[in-house]
């Protein structure tokens, strides 16, 4: 894939009808690194990711990818600046074939030989998608749809990949498969921002993490430190 760029978020605030979902959140994802955001349901994880993508309005805050300020870029143009987005609940185009879903991931680029090459890379990463390329996306299993959602985001050749709960509703075996994929993407130099309820997966896939509570950072540190923190162990790992 392509080399990752760093993401810098400063003072991000998101309000829904007067209620703040994210409050003055700042963090950085170094280029080529993987950072996780963990927290309970409703802590503001998804809102943070959607606000970075521009899918929900940012009340305040700036964001930069590498040296480029993306604060004023609309959601539809984020992909053109190198941000790939894997939505919570997969959101594949159920009525279209697998391959059309993937090609639409490259909608912002010209469909040419380069697109074909990226498609081959995605099929290499997820052989099952290649086998099912002519099936309707809606006919795939949950795990296959998750792979399709990731593959679709990779088709844009992103410099930063945002993943919202990729493990949701998957069996432990499939969660393991997702982890393998994330580790491979990271080893290829892509920058990852992973939002998860599954803290165990997140600690294994990332080098550092934020713990979000009530829309603000409650704790942060390297994934190894947090994994051994007694409070995190109790609340998020159930140990």
């Amino acid at each position: 894939m392509t080399t990752g760029l760093s993401l810098t978020v400063e003072g991000l605030t998101v309000n829904y009808g007067g209620v703040s979902a994210v409050r003055d959140l700042s963090f950085e994802v170094p280029g080529g690194d993987a950072v996780g955001v963990i927290g309970a349901n409703g802590a503001g994880k998804t809102s943070t990711l959607k606000a970075v993508m521009g899918l929900v309005p940012r009340r305040s805050g700036t964001l930069r990818l590498g040296d480029v300020d993306l604060s004023g870029v609309s959601a539809r143009n984020m992909v053109r600046h190198g941000i790939g987005y894997v939505p919570e609940g997969r959101h594949v185009f159920t009525g279209l074939p697998v391959e059309k879903n993937l090609l639409l991931g490259a909608y912002a680029r010209k469909w040419d030989a380069g697109t074909r090459a990226t498609l081959a890379e995605v099929y290499d990463l997820f052989p099952v998608l290649g086998e099912m390329r002519h099936r309707l996306a809606g006919a795939l299993s949950g795990g296959q749809q998750q792979m399709l959602a990731i593959g679709r985001a990779l088709m844009s050749r992103p410099r930063l990949l945002l993943l919202d709960e990729p493990s949701m509703g998957l069996s432990p075996k499939l969660v393991g498969d997702i982890l393998t994929v994330l580790q491979r993407l990271r080893s290829e130099g892509l920058t990852l921002l992973l939002v998860e309820q599954n803290a165990k997966l997140t600690f294994e896939a990332t080098s550092s993490c934020l713990v979000v509570e009530n829309g603000a950072v409650a704790m942060s540190g390297t994934s190894a430190e947090l994994r051994n923190d007694p409070r995190v162990r109790q609340i998020y790992l159930g140990l």
Partner: protein, 289 residues
């Protein structure tokens, strides 16, 4: 047997027109998830524009049709642009907005062309073809051929082009479509434009078959809507099959029940939908409307 076959032949050309109207409904539904209730009224606009260019400015019929399709397509763009703010607020409001736009168009039609209708002479004056004792009007064949061509082009557009795939993706998932870089508003505008163009095609073709009046679109709209539902809403082959089925059913009931023909047509339609609510090719029922 001869009478039976002649009745089928008689219903096919109107059936093709219903199919075109149904295609417009299905296209907008497939790409926006919206049932456009102004569609029938847009058909009337198309019929009046085509007949005006043909009769008053003496353009050749084919050219009059093309101009009418372009102008009506532009009206489709205007409708989408006016209703767009509603889409972002609440989708149901947009649906109601199309009903409102239909009423506005109806009023404009009466203001411009008056409340009485006009007859459009057939552009094809050759004698009917005799095929094994069946009389086939040449114009019916023209209507069939044009409807078939329009359908093939639409299917190719949706299945073979990037824009066509993107338009279908928008209907399936707004947010995911935005995330891959698709301009949702532009996609909807194109859907409305093509839908209105199909409406004008249907309206222009039906002129020489029926009387062009302000009530034309209401009648064609409801038949086309029924055709789309019968075939399975959103399905392209369904729209074609549904249209032809309603056209042939029409032809039979007109022969056997005269004044009650519409009643019988819609009774049969209702029974079929009760047995098979998703229609012939329907995978899903209308749920976003």
């Amino acid at each position: 047997m001869q009478v039976f076959l002649q009745t089928i032949v008689g219903g096919v050309s109107l059936g093709a027109v219903y199919a075109l109207v149904a295609l417009g409904f299905s296209l907008v539904y497939r790409t926006m998830g919206l049932v456009n209730f102004a569609h029938g009224n847009v058909v009337t606009v198309g019929a009046y524009l085509a007949s005006t260019f043909y009769l008053s400015t003496k353009l050749p019929f084919a050219l009059a049709m093309v101009v009418a399709i372009v102008v009506t397509g532009a009206i489709g763009l205007v409708i989408e642009r006016v209703l767009r703010p509603l889409e972002n607020k609440d989708f149901d409001l947009m649906l109601i907005g199309t009903i409102g736009f239909g009423i506005v168009l109806d009023a404009l039609i009466i203001m411009i062309w008056g409340a009485t209708g006009r007859a459009v002479p057939s552009p094809v004056q050759t004698a009917p073809i005799d095929l094994f004792g069946l009389r086939i009007r040449t114009y019916d064949l023209v209507v069939l051929a044009i409807a078939a061509l329009a359908t093939v082009l639409l299917v190719l557009f949706l299945s073979r082009t990037k824009r066509g795939a993107a338009m279908q993706a928008v209907a399936m998932d707004h947010e995911a479509a935005t995330a891959v870089g698709i301009h949702v508003g532009r996609s909807n505008a194109i859907a409305f434009m093509i839908g209105a163009g199909l409406a004008a095609l249907a309206g222009g073709l039906v002129g020489p078959l029926l009387y062009v009046s302000p009530a034309l679109g209401g009648a064609l709209g409801i038949k086309g809507f029924a055709a789309a539902i019968l075939g399975g809403f959103g399905s392209i082959p369904g729209a074609i099959l549904g249209g032809l089925a309603i056209g042939i059913l029409d032809s039979f009931t007109a022969g056997h029940f005269q004044g009650y023909s519409e009643l019988v047509t819609f009774l049969v339609f209702t029974v079929i939908i009760m047995v098979r609510p998703t229609g012939i090719f329907g995978e899903r029922t209308v749920n976003r409307a």
